[in-house]
């Protein structure tokens, strides 16, 4: 238990920051500082332009030494931003860092009351008074160091997750790569080419997939989902569900004593399987059997049985023969792994664009999405790379591309945000049809072309020069000619200021992207927040774009918000680097906001025990009576027990009852009534 220095006379130093004009623009900083001098326990008050600057921090350290301060208050920005800075300054002055308290007079005052200087100044004075009251009662605390498990987990095996896993493993960290589908690769393996270089997507992706598969530091867990997460940074216990895939690997066969057995990927089973289902990898445009692989380049190359479709006829078992790879009785397995840090890279889904019914997707045969276009133009896709009209198999010549389909849409049906890669991949699509189909003309209906990346604007010019037609305007509706199945695209050309009715052979909707359906479940398992649009929330939009508010959990790729492949890979490398730091340091410091039992007050009623979500509390016999005991390693410092104990016997370090009551009293009873 931390030593409580009792009966010392509090001597508090108060420092009020101008933050340039950020604070001083609406708050009379000098008046707040003068007011602080009149408060009980305040030994010194000062103000400064930028308290977070080196001279500002030095002021704190010097005052602690000169004035023999017992506590420090800085009235400035949010403690969520600069509490660590000023705690360090407090420490530098020779005081325990937990004797520091912050008054937020910027985010929650000067910035939100910009036109009410008098009220803002009064509110700042109250905030300082409240902070001084708490600082007067603060005690020395020592952060708890815990060891960090030398292993990491990456959830999601798209290009982002693969990159993060490779970096972590190559930094010498044992890494579990958890992918829910039967293969790694993610959306990128569905793409034909990639802008702006027009590299073949699979060609640049498969070497990475092979690297992941071969890397000894990576334990690849495909067809696996996260079931449960316990613990905290350094010590996450993650329970995984290895879904029954009905087929065993050579290694698993060996473990079962089947010599030379296990799936070799020969595909003999597929030929005999009588059940036909649509292949989700081909977006339902091609069939697959009940025993399947998504595409020839899957990694790992192991077949999977779709038990929802399988009729258990056993023909595949027979076809497989001596390899004995098919096990139709396989059951899901649970396994638990311990990791120090986690990277989430769970990607995205396509917005169900049929909701924008005015464009007729799923109603009109020849209206397709861009992802379907990718599969149709891809040589390994369902049509061998021949773009055809679904209605009659003819090659389309006039093709309309509708950009921002469901993106930048404030009607409430679509998404308000920009999906960030649709402009660029639509330019790529335009190029592809000009290249592949002689005489074909792409008509691009756009709002603005966002070609923001390196060599992107140049790519845009190139596509213009190649003959793509650009029409600036949102498409109001699309109507189908019932006989020809051609489509009439109705829009307003906002540059010429006139309506357009254009007949085309095919329409490609650049549909918005959205968080996957399981994002909500995943983020709750890991205690990560989301932004209003459902993407996982980074710790800070500018300064901590890979971190989350849950220590030890990091983000990579589109799960954090739409981004193209280069940005996904860059963020993945950032997340991997951030996730490797605690592991390489070997230990992390936890804030010491633990619960403590004040045994003399504890009645041993045990009511608090069930309040704790982490099972940190128990009853023990001590000196002949029953008292509560806290297991510090389990306590996360939420204070739920402390808010409940009827006898007030629980001391919440740094948020103790007397400290909070002092804040309440200081606001309501102190000051100018």
């Amino acid at each position: 238990m931390a030593e409580v220095k009792k009966n010392e006379e509090p001597r508090i130093g108060v420092f009020v920051c101008h933050c340039g004009t950020n604070i001083a623009g609406s708050i009379d900083v000098k008046a707040v500082m003068e007011y602080a001098r009149t408060l009980p326990n305040v030994a010194i008050a000062d103000d400064y332009q930028y308290m977070c600057s080196t001279p500002g921090q030095n002021k704190i350290a010097e005052a602690i030494a000169e004035q023999k301060l017992t506590g420090v208050v800085v009235a400035a920005c949010s403690p969520r931003l600069h509490e660590p800075t000023f705690r360090n300054a407090t420490k530098a002055g020779g005081l325990n860092p937990f004797r520091f308290e912050m008054a937020n007079i910027r985010e929650q005052n000067s910035w939100v009351h910009m036109h009410q200087p008098e009220e803002a100044t009064a509110k700042a004075k109250d905030a300082v008074r409240i902070a001084v009251a708490k600082a007067s009662l603060l005690e020395d605390l020592v952060p708890k160091s815990v060891p960090v498990e030398k292993a990491a987990m990456v959830v999601g095996g798209g290009v982002g997750g693969m990159q993060a896993a490779l970096d972590l493993a190559n930094a010498g960290i044992k890494t579990y790569l958890v992918e829910k589908s039967p293969t790694i690769g993610g959306r990128m393996s569905q793409l034909d080419k990639t802008f702006p270089t027009l590299d073949c997507s699979q060609c640049i992706l498969t070497p990475k997939m092979v690297d992941v598969y071969r890397n000894e530091g990576i334990e690849l867990l495909t067809y696996t989902e996260v079931e449960q997460v316990e613990g905290y940074i350094g010590n996450f216990d993650v329970t995984l569900r290895k879904k029954a895939r009905g087929v065993i690997t050579p290694a698993e066969a060996e473990a079962r004593g089947i010599v030379g057995g296990g799936c070799t990927g020969c595909g003999d089973c597929v030929d005999v399987c009588p059940v036909i289902k649509p292949n989700p990898f081909e977006l339902g445009m091609a069939p697959r059997k009940a025993i399947y692989i998504y595409h020839p380049q899957v990694s790992p190359l192991i077949y999977t049985v779709d038990f929802d479709a399988c009729v258990k006829c056993g023909l595949c078992v027979e076809a497989c023969g001596e390899k004995k790879a098919v096990d139709l009785e396989m059951k899901d397995e649970l396994m638990t792994v311990k990791v120090g840090t986690v990277v989430l890279a769970t990607g995205y889904d396509i917005f169900p664009i049929e909701k924008k019914f005015e464009w007729g997707y799923k109603n009109y045969d020849n209206v397709i999405t861009s992802l379907e276009f990718e599969r149709l133009i891809c040589a390994s896709g369902p049509t061998g790379g021949h773009l055809v009209r679904p209605s009659d198999g003819e090659t389309p010549k006039k093709i309309a591309f509708v950009l921002c389909a469901g993106s930048r849409d404030s009607t409430g049906v679509g998404k308000p945000y920009c999906s960030r890669f649709c402009c660029m991949y639509s330019l790529k699509h335009a190029h592809q049809i000009i290249e592949k189909i002689p005489g074909a003309i792409p008509y691009i209906f756009y709002m603005d072309i966002r070609s923001f990346g390196k060599m992107y604007e140049e790519f845009y010019y190139r596509i213009q020069d190649e003959g793509a037609k650009f029409i600036r305007g949102r498409v109001a509706n699309i109507l189908e000619d019932p006989v020809t199945k051609n489509l009439h695209v109705n829009a307003e050309d906002t540059l010429l200021g006139r309506p357009i009715d254009m007949e085309v052979d095919m329409v490609v909707l650049a549909a918005a992207v959205q968080p996957t359906a399981e994002t909500e479940k995943t983020r709750r398992l890991f205690g990560v927040s989301c932004s209003q649009d459902g993407w996982l929330l980074e710790a800070h939009p500018k300064l901590n774009p890979c971190g989350t508010t849950t220590a030890g959990v990091y983000l990579a790729g589109v799960c954090q918000g739409p981004k193209d492949i280069p940005d996904t890979v860059a963020q993945a490398e950032g997340a991997a680097s951030a996730a490797s730091i605690p592991i390489h340091r070997g230990e992390v410091e936890l804030e010491p906001y633990f619960a403590q039992c004040m045994e003399e007050k504890c009645a041993g009623c045990g009511l608090c025990v069930n309040q704790c979500p982490y099972g940190a509390l128990s009853l023990v016999e001590k000196d002949g009576r029953t008292v509560m005991q806290v297991t510090e390693a389990k306590c996360k410092g939420c204070g739920t027990c402390g808010g409940f104990c009827p006898g007030g016997a629980i001391w919440m370090q740094h948020f103790a009852t007397p400290q909070i009551v002092a804040q309440i009293d200081a606001f309501l009873l102190g000051g100018e009534q």
Binding site: Q532, G643, F667
Partner: protein
Amino acid sequence: MADENWKPKIIAIICNWCSYAGADLAGGARIQYPPDIRAIRVMCTGRIDPLFILKAFQDGADGVLVSGCHFGDCHYLEGNFKAAKRMFLLKSVLKNIGLDDKRLRMTFVSASEGAKWGMVMEDVIKTINELGPSPLKEFAR
């Protein structure tokens, strides 16, 4: 209203992870709201002992706002459920001692809901302005 110069004294006790972060976000976005609320930060709304709120009313607070994460989003899993239960019970206590239970409000504002925080501020202040000064004020020491 009895006192012409009366301005409501409202205290907000808010959790670090959601509502405090949401309030910071409102600041970053320069969302303007009336200045009558003072906030105290706790790590989780589960920390809030009903006695804190009774103490605030005893001290003459005109209103108390408790704000945390949405259900299912609490940084500590279920602190906000516990808090909501306690606030619910506390509301009946308030009624028994003759206080309008609208003076105690619990809201759920996430770290990304800066605009919502502004609306909550407006709304709480409006409610308390309509209710007028707390009848307990004269007993406050």
